[in-house]
């Protein structure tokens, strides 16, 4: 049995003696007997570190690590500089709590302030929070922050990632906002439908860009439609795309959200990732979650603190703008390290290469009989249609240790490329598919 309790049995006895108890069980005596567990827990006995690690390695081996991946659909395998893990493994950063005590937390606070600056810059917005759980909850929180007494309805495009839409709906089951889905038309948001149905009750319009199918939306126009109706405009974006694509701000968005995972976090079976939220200054005090601000100490020395806490649950309780408390701080740190390692050139390169490789692959796949369905320009994801059953296509790749695109249905596959996919890999995958 492993144990992390330092005090020996003798020391425990000595401590009990000092405070006048005979046994530890005496400290539990006031707990009613009928709620106590009888006969101990029915879980296995503890193990030594050697056994635990062996067991965990055995379990991990039951998963298949694909050296080549062409699947995205919400989780993207980009290159993660060695520095990222190095930094987030530093114990002072990794094991600290939320930085309530600013005097001994300047390192963490500064890292969040830097993260906020980078995310605001990347999205073209004025302010950023310190992260929420992931891209889906960021979208759901964004919907909530746009609503007010008069506007209790949100339009969400059908072309957002399906689980993001689901999460928005779940959150709205809670906060009782109304969601209307803007239908898809030719793989993008049906703007005509939106124009027709939007009204003064609408709090916001939310789209994803590039959308779930990788396509670029007519993001400018959608924003104009939203604003004409007095609604806010929320864009969910892939942060890597912002190395090349217009910022949400340039398209006219009021709030930008998304999943920060592509910026230095491993795909890790879905988490931990992080959600980012940035917005225009006028909405600053509606932004949920932690925010770090610059200030001075009593001696006039510059420093950082958690701020705007009046919005938060530990002060406002049921009047808080959100219930978020723990966020994804260490992931935000990872993003900060990632963006610093990559710099302007690196992020631009990652965006350009991801897009270029996807286009190269799309062309090659088209040549192999997989028709590309996207009617608009696309970023680093695209959909193919083929008569060969998706399952068969993907199995052929899997047999060669390649994780193919995500099967949308029996005929359609959603492919993704990043800078990690070499031309050689793409050519190999396509040549396999020519044989299927």
């Amino acid at each position: 049995m492993g144990s992390y309790v330092p005090n020996t049995l003798d020391e425990r006895k000595a401590m009990l003696n000092e405070i006048g108890y005979e046994s530890i069980d005496d400290l539990f005596r006031h707990i009613p007997e009928q709620v106590k567990i009888q006969g101990g827990l029915d879980i296995p006995e503890g193990m030594s570190e050697m056994e635990v690690l062996k067991k965990m390695k055995e379990i991990a081996k039951k998963n298949k690590v694909f050296p080549t991946i062409f699947r995205g659909a919400g989780a993207y395998r980009h290159y993660i500089p060695a520095m990222v893990n190095n930094v987030i493994s530093k114990e002072n950063l990794q094991t600290a709590y939320t930085p309530y005590q600013a005097e001994i937390s300047q390192g963490i606070l500064q890292s969040i302030f830097e993260y906020q600056t980078m995310m605001a810059d990347l999205t073209g917005m004025d302010v950023s929070n310190a992260s929420v759980y992931d891209g889906a909850t960021a979208a759901a929180e964004a919907v909530a922050m746009c609503a007010d007494r008069k506007r209790k309805k949100a339009f969400v495009s059908a072309t957002v990632m399906p689980s993001v839409l689901e999460v928005i709906k779940t959150y709205c089951f809670g906060n009782e906002l109304e969601i209307e889905v803007i239908p898809e038309k030719d793989g993008v948001t049906d703007i005509d439908y939106l124009k027709e149905h939007i009204d003064k009750q609408v709090a916001c319009v939310l789209i994803q860009h590039p959308n779930y199918y990788g396509s670029l939306e007519d993001a400018q126009t959608i924003g104009e439609v939203a604003h004409e109706a007095g609604a806010k405009y929320v864009m969910s974006v892939n942060p890597i795309s912002l190395g090349a694509l217009k910022t949400p701000r340039e398209y006219g968005a009021d709030v930008a959200v998304g999943d920060g995972q592509p910026l230095g976090l491993p795909i890790a079976f879905g988490g931990p990732y992080l959600g980012f939220m940035t917005c225009v200054e006028s909405m600053m005090r509606k932004l949920p979650g932690r925010v770090v601000g610059e200030t001075e100490d009593y001696n006039g020395k510059k420093g950082y603190v958690l701020t705007l806490q009046a919005r938060e649950q530990h002060i406002r309780r049921e009047k808080a703008s959100s219930n978020i408390c723990s966020n994804q701080a260490l992931c935000a740190l990872a993003v900060g390290v990632y963006l610093s390692c990559m710099g302007n050139e690196g992020v631009t390169k990652a965006a350009e290469q991801s897009m270029s490789k996807a286009h190269y692959m799309a062309e090659k796949l088209a040549g192999a009989g997989f028709k590309v369905e996207n009617k608009q320009n696309f970023f680093h994801e695209f959909v193919t249609v083929s008569d060969t059953p998706s399952e068969k296509v993907l199995k052929a790749l899997e047999d060669e240790d390649i994780l193919g695109g995500y099967p949308l249905d029996d005929k359609r596959i959603l492919w993704c490329c990043t800078e990690m996919n070499t031309k050689e890999e793409i050519d190999k995958a396509v040549s396999i598919l020519k044989e299927v």
């Binding site: 992390y4 006031h30 039951k62 699947r71 005097e103 980078m118 406002r316 723990s326 966020n327």
Partner: protein
């Protein structure tokens, strides 16, 4: 110095190769025009920058960390090794089921252990944090009542001593919050509870032991009152470290709970996250659970409940945090789990008893894993506040207890040593607490000015909130 101030145009790390396919460019319509201002540094400078930030942070390894309600226990190294295995980090969440049998085994195994510890039927790992778990649990309650056509239940009862997330989560879930007062014993005022209980009550949220560190002896009566009026009982697992292996929330009458893997189950807090707040429930709530549930023996499969409240988050939760927690429970096992909580309680009682002749305990009786002191008298006598004592601790490399919480205790300091602290460490901290008490009497001013030895002194928080500067402003 901010990383932006260290940036020099043209410096860089070289992480990516050149493009090996024809480069595609965007039309002007969609091409970014605004300049990027990411930092430009060489790798060596970058590395020093983060070393510098790390030095200005205080982790569990930097000293005693008795932050009440946060369970700052030691974060075992083997958990980190397990979570770093390529077979976990490099798995796409949408891989075919047969290629993720290990991930599913992690979820299934930890679910079975935690359900046994919590006395629940099933558990979802999707919630990313405690508050996210609360929100999830409340939606389960809402869905349950709705499924029975019992839609008038709009109230959630929350004690006045509750964590702030409880009422906030209830509000997010569309409930109105009714506060039930604590009695003079720090526990739920049963009579008041009876008054509130009625057919408009959706449920009660409670943590037990509660936030003043006491186990509510009337717990069975409390949950019965709620059940009798048709409501459900939600257990806030923030304080489970006091009783795991001894008492199960399910046996106390709770229907739905969340656990904090980043508190009770030893995963690191990460400077504020990622956490993991799995939600467990009794059988009758299982149909409403979000996310996947793992079924099967040899060949594991992920299934979804068709009456589910829906997804709470993309994918299946903070998976790598779950891996760490599994390594922890495997290490401790059936004897280690109660040993941990028992020693957490012993340590808290030891510290409380060694301080109570000087410091006023909010409730002078056996505590569980934490205790609350009220510095109201001290403040009256010396002018030294809970904040001052807390800041004074910083000069001794001790992280302060939680300040000014729970709200029902004036000038509160809430101390939670956890089981992974040794007697010497506590004795050292006790000596510091006693010394500060003495200093309060002799030289209150010095405590108003504490801390003196930290990278910065007390910050102007009012100024920060009044004139928010939330990002670095670039010159161009």
């Amino acid at each position: 110095m901010l990383i932006f101030e260290k940036s020099k145009t043209g410096r860089k790390c070289q992480n990516l190769p050149e493009c090996d396919v024809p480069v595609v460019t965007l039309d002007a319509k969609d091409k970014r025009e605004v300049k990027l201002h990411l930092p430009e540094l060489s790798e060596g400078e970058l590395s020093r920058h983060y070393t510098e930030l790390a030095k200005k942070s205080h982790g569990v390894n930097d000293g005693f960390y008795p932050l009440g309600s946060c369970t700052m226990k030691y974060n075992p190294r083997v958990n980190e090794v397990a979570a770093g295995l390529e077979g976990f980090t490099d798995i796409h969440p949408l891989q075919p089921t047969e290629t993720v049998q290990g991930c599913l085994e992690v979820l299934k195994t930890l679910e079975s252990y935690l359900c046994e510890i919590a006395g629940m039927k099933r558990m979802t790992f999707q919630p990313a944090a405690g508050a996210h778990g609360e929100f999830t649990g409340l939606l389960l309650i809402k869905a349950y009542h709705k499924s029975r056509g019992d839609e008038k239940r709009k109230k959630i009862i929350v004690p006045d001593s509750a964590h702030g997330t409880n009422p906030a989560s209830a509000a997010m879930a569309g409930f109105s919050v009714v506060s039930v007062p604590s009695g003079p014993d720090g526990c739920v005022d049963i009579e008041k509870l009876k008054e509130i209980a009625g057919d408009d009550v959706a449920g009660l949220m409670l943590t037990n032991p509660n936030t003043v560190g006491l186990f509510d002896k009337n717990i069975l009566e409390i949950t019965k009152i709620i059940h009798d009026c048709g409501g459900l009982c939600y257990y806030d697992g923030a304080n489970l470290n006091a009783v795991m292996g001894t008492v199960r929330p399910g046996d106390m009458g709770f229907d739905v709970i969340h656990l904090n893997l980043h508190k009770t189950f030893s995963t690191p807090h990460g400077g504020g996250g990622p956490g993991s707040g799995p939600v467990g429930c009794k059988e009758f709530l299982v149909p409403f659970l979000p996310s996947i549930l793992v079924e099967g023996e040899d060949k594991l499969v992920a299934v979804k409940e068709k009456d589910s409240i829906g997804e709470m988050k993309n994918f299946y939760g903070n998976f790598l945090v779950v891996v760490r927690a599994l390594a922890y429970v495997m290490t401790l096992g059936k004897e280690g789990i109660p040993e941990a909580s028992k020693n957490a309680v012993l340590n808290a009682n030891y510290m409380m008893n060694k301080l109570k002749d000087l410091y006023t305990m909010a409730y002078d009786e056996v505590c569980m894993h934490e205790f609350v002191m009220s510095l109201a008298d001290l403040k009256k006598q010396t002018g030294v506040s809970a904040m001052d004592i807390a800041k004074g601790l910083l000069d001794f490399e001790i992280h302060p207890p939680t300040m000014y919480f729970p709200l029902i205790v004036d000038e509160a300091l809430m101390v939670e040593p956890t089981e992974t602290e040794s007697k010497e460490t506590m004795d050292g901290a006790i000596a510091v607490f006693r010394k500060l008490y003495e200093t309060a009497g002799e030289d209150a001013e010095s405590l108003h000015n504490a801390p003196m030895t930290t990278p910065v002194t007390r910050m102007d928080e009012v100024g920060a909130a009044r004139h928010p500067i939330l990002r670095y402003q670039f010159e161009d």
